[in-house]
Structure formats: C-alpha cells, structure tokens
C-alpha cells in the first residue's frame, strides 16, 4: 500500500519534471509573443491558452487521441511505441500540457515588464540578439520567470482531469496527489483525504505566497532616487 508520503513525493517529482519540460519552449513562446510581430501571432497565443479554458477532461481525451495507436504520436504513425498511456510519462504529459498556458502567460508578463529600450541599449553597446537576451532580458525577467515556474508547478501538482484520462489512477504507478484525494474520498477514507487536502493546501499556499512576494519585489525594484 502506497503511503501518503510516497504519493506526495512522486507528485512533486512529476510536477518538477513537467516544468523542466515546458521551460524552454514556454520561455521561447512567451518571448515571441511579448516581443515579435508575426503572422499567426494571435493564433499561437490562442492555442497556448486553450488548455486553460477547455475542460481538463477534454484535453485528456484529446491527448488520448494523440497517443492512441492511430494518433499523431501513436505507434502506427511513428513506427514505434512511445509507451505513454497509463504510465508516469502520461502524468508528465498531462501536467505539462495543463501547466503550459499559465507558464506562458506569466512568462509573457515578465517579458512585457522589461523595457525594450534597455534591450536597444544593449544593441548599441555591440551586443548580439542572443547576448541581449541572456544578459539583459533574461536577468530582468528572472523573477517573473520564477513566478511562472512556481505557478506552473502548482497547476501541475493539482492536475486531475486530463491525468486520469490518459494516465489512469493507479496507486504506486500513476496516482497523483489530486487523484489520491479523489480515491480516498470515494472510498470514505476521511483521514487520508484530509491529510492529502492539508498537503495540497500548504503546497498551494506556499507557492501562491512566494509568487506574490516575487511580484512585490519586481514592483519595488523599479524605482530609484532622483
């Protein structure tokens, strides 16, 4: 029988993995949406936001189609089996997809807050586009990007709908904190459900509090004396 501790640790690991997975593409898309004008920008923006507004079960069902035998990433299409469905990989995929919109939106806000004229200054000092990005933009957006990671992590920790559809709710294998609460409640195990609820509350509160603090510091470091 899996302990609550194991479920929590496993969920934290999957959520961390998901954030690691979406970090690079998330930052790239957030930067593009914040700084560049291109054809299809609004379509890209809408697509990245979609999982935020769709029912999680709909997203789960869509992912199920994608990884099914005849799906876009299914064995019949790729020629080999990724072995995603009903495994820990499915949990990570579901968490990544569901955390992606909140990560991109928060990261875009972080880039929006960096004065583009500071990037121009970097260019006049001989910096290449890439160097401007990592030595001017990225450090100035860092707090916002950390906030994006934290919020994405929190979203992953709480993910349920999409996960149960493609990963199931298999104790010791694909059961997450959210699905463990559901299972405990369903079988009338109030003690476990309450303990898991407290863990979820503490993690959630800690992350939202940290994000608030980061936002506050971002505002406070904007000024200076005349």
């Amino acid at each position: 029988m899996e302990t609550i501790y194991e479920t929590v640790v496993r969920t934290i690991g999957w959520a961390s993995f998901s954030i690691g997975l979406i970090c690079v593409p998330g930052v790239a898309i957030a930067y593009l949406l914040s700084r560049k004008e291109f054809a299809g920008k609004h379509v890209l923006s809408a697509l990245t936001t979609l999982p935020l507004v769709l029912p999680p079960t709909a997203v789960g069902y869509l992912l199920l189609k994608v990884f099914a035998d005849y799906g876009l990433l299914g064995p019949d299409t790729l020629g080999f089996d990724l072995r995603v469905l009903l495994t820990w990989k499915a949990v990570v995929v579901a968490c990544s997809v569901m955390a992606f919109p909140i990560f991109v939106r928060t990261a875009k806000l972080a880039f929006d807050e960096v004065d583009p004229r500071l990037e121009d200054m970097g260019r006049t000092l001989g910096m290449s586009g890439w160097r401007v990005f990592y030595s001017v933009t990225l450090p100035l957006a860092a707090r916002g990007l950390v906030a994006a990671m934290l919020l994405g992590f929190a979203r992953s920790m709480g993910e349920f709908g999409a996960t149960v559809i493609i990963a199931g709710n298999i104790p010791g294998k694909t059961q997450t904190l959210a699905s463990a609460i559901f299972t405990a409640q369903q079988r009338g195990d109030d003690a476990s459900a309450t303990t898991l609820l407290w863990v979820a509350l503490l993690v959630g509160f800690g992350i939202v509090y940290a994000t608030e603090r980061l936002s506050l510091r971002r505002v406070n470091t904007g000024g200076g004396r005349a």
């Binding site: 121009d120 006049t124 001989g126 100035l140 200076g224 005349a226």
Partner: protein, 369 residues
C-alpha cells in the same frame, strides 16, 4: 586637397505622427548639435543614427561607411554601428552595479583592438566614477546616473557618441557639473559627437556646428552663435534660453568676484564676473543674456555696472519681434548679440561700423563651467 569623406553624410526621411522629418546634412564637425522644440523629431533623428528605428528611409554614411542606403537595401544593425548612445533617461541596466554597467560593452571594445583596462581607467578618472563602481544603479543620484551612462557608452569603444538632451533632467547646479564632464569627454576622447537638445546654451557650449529643425524641416545650420541669432531661429532660441556664450581665463580673484580675460590677443580685455571657484589661469565658459547688455556711444562714467567693452557693430537686423545687433568686442574679444529697440537704434544712429561700448553688470554674467 582633402579627399576623405565627410564624417556625416545624411539624407533622411522619417515619418513622425504629424509630419515627415526631412533632414539633409553633410559635414565634418567635431561636435554636431541638433536643436528644436519638443516634438520636432530630434530624438527620433538620433535613434535613426543609432539604428534603433524601424521606419525611416534615405541615406546615412558615417566617415564614408554606409549605415543606411534605402535604395540598396543597406541597413546596418545597431550592434555594428560602433556608437555610444546616451539617452535622456540614461537607461542604466537595473539590478546591477556601476561596474557591470560600465563593462556591458567590453566585448566590442576588445573586438575593436582596444585595451579595456586603459579605457576603463581613463573613463573612470575623467568622469570621477571610481567611488561609485560597486554601487547599485538604483542608489545613484541623477547626476551620477548621467555620468555612468556616459561612462558606459565610452567603455564600449565607440566611434561616435550620441547624446540625447544630456542635461535636460538635471537641476541647475548639477547641469553645470555635468556640462564640465561633457566638455572633458569631448576634449579627452576626441570622437565625433551628436548632441540633441532644446537648450541653445548647451549646444553653444558643446558644439561647433548646429542644425535647427522645425516642423519636420531643417531651417538653419552653421556655427551656433550665428545660427541662433539668425532670423526665424532667434525667437525659438530665445525661448529655449539663448545667451551669448564666450570662453575666458581666470586672471584674478577679488573675493566675491573674479576677473576673467576674454581675449586671446590682449590680456587687458577682461570682464568682472561672479566668483568662478576656478584657479587662476583656468579656462571658464561664461554667458550673458542678449537682453542684459546696453550699448553706449560714449565711454561710460559714473555707472555701477563694472563691465564695459569697446566694440564695433557688425550688423543690425530684425529677428521678427526684436532688433538685434551683433557687436564684435575689439582686440580679439567675443562677438555678442545685443537686443535693442527700434527707437534706440534710431536715437543713437546706430549703423554697421558704429563704435560702441557694451555695458553689463557683473551679476549679469553666468559662469557655466
């Protein structure tokens, strides 16, 4: 014959909100000023020189090197223009210290084959930044920020320095200090400068040639003292605080006042000015408003005003709402623009060539640097 290309060869068209700025200029001044009222497109022009604007067309060549050639689709990116740009709001990189800001352009300086250590030392000494190096930029005062922004530009090994309203956001006391730093930079680093300002006084002090832009057009160009006194420009310049600017050397301290010699040819051509705070023999830059001096046909006696200089009327002209007289102080003294009324010109029978005395009070003189 000198066949080298001009430092600046510019033929630009820049669409602005209300009009299109058209500017043609070719010349090789050490320091080029651009004067115009707010909204005349000065900053936009500077951003085009820096390559930071998207929508502009025409031609820009710097020392013969094409930076923009719309017809040939040449548009050199800012990072390859080798410029040092100091915007009006400094734009220092926040959350880092002064040293990091000064080192931001180190890579380019090294690529240009310069010794960073030497340049860094020269810049920090000239701008007196040594004590600020480890300080966070958020903790700097306005004047310190200006010096750091200037230092950051210089530490990137630029070939051209672009200054946008370098003194606009400073109070009078700081303005005087920063002006002296700008003069030091101009003289020590010997690179062409473009200074954009709505203050004639700054451009008169810093530049040897000025372009005046108004409503999208270049309406005058030439040496600052001539340009600002020209018809159609004087009214704009006067609103911006035009004064007669001249250099001199401190000859004597007299307590609350100093004697400053204002002629290279004759050391007796001196004026009394408020205490400069400078050592004997030190160069100072002074100014006097054009409506402060009075002209007399006879040598004045019994006046409380301490300064009267012999001069010759070079020209008398109507600037639009004022009669102006350009007077050359004799024996190598400076030229001065003096505002007169129509009846004063008639009563004194003033004409080109008239011998006059230019009279003004000690406290009418401002010591700029």
């Amino acid at each position: 014959m000198n066949n080298s290309p001009p430092v600046f060869d510019i033929d630009l068209r820049i669409p602005l909100q209300e009009f299109e700025l058209e500017l043609q200029y070719s010349g090789s001044p050490k320091s080029l000023g651009v004067f115009g009222v707010s909204g005349s497109g000065k900053t936009t022009f500077l951003e085009c020189l820096a390559g930071l604007r998207k929508f502009y067309s025409g031609r820009i060549a710097f020392e013969g090197e094409p930076w923009l050639e719309s017809t040939k689709e040449i548009r050199v990116r800012p990072m390859y223009r080798n410029i040092g740009y100091v915007p009006q709001d400094y734009l220092l990189f926040p959350k880092s210290d002064v040293r990091s800001n000064l080192e931001a352009g180190k890579k380019r300086l090294l690529e240009n084959g310069l010794n960073f250590g030497e340049v860094f030392e020269n810049v920090t000494n000239t701008l007196e930044l040594g004590a600020l190096l480890d300080r966070k930029v958020e903790l700097l005062s306005g004047g310190e920020r200006q010096r750091v922004a200037l230092g950051r530009a210089l530490c990137s090994g630029p070939r051209l320095l672009l200054l946008d309203e370098p003194l606009a956001s400073l109070d009078a006391k700081l303005r005087r200090r920063i002006l002296s730093y700008l003069l030091k930079v101009r003289d020590a680093f010997r690179m062409p400068m473009v200074v954009v300002s709505h203050s004639p006084l700054e451009l008169q002090t810093l530049c040897d040639e000025v372009l005046v832009v108004s409503e999208g057009k270049l309406i005058a160009q030439g040496p600052p003292n001539e340009v600002f006194a020209a018809g159609g420009v004087f009214e704009l310049a006067k609103e911006g605080g035009f004064e007669n600017v001249f250099t001199g050397k401190v000859r004597e301290h007299l307590g609350r006042t100093d004697i400053v010699c204002i002629s290279d040819q004759n050391e007796s051509v001196c004026i009394r000015v408020p205490a400069t705070g400078s050592e004997i023999g030190r160069k100072v830059i002074c100014s006097i408003a054009s409506d402060d001096p009075i002209l007399s046909l006879q040598e004045p006696t019994g006046l409380s005003a301490r300064n009267y200089l012999r001069g010759n009327v070079d020209s008398i002209f109507d600037s639009g709402s004022r009669i102006l007289s350009r007077v050359s102080v004799l024996e190598g003294g400076p030229e001065m623009i003096v505002e007169l009324t129509q009846d004063a010109v008639a009563d004194l029978n003033l004409a080109v060539g008239s011998d006059v005395y230019v009279i003004f009070k000690t406290n009418s003189v401002r010591v700029l640097v």
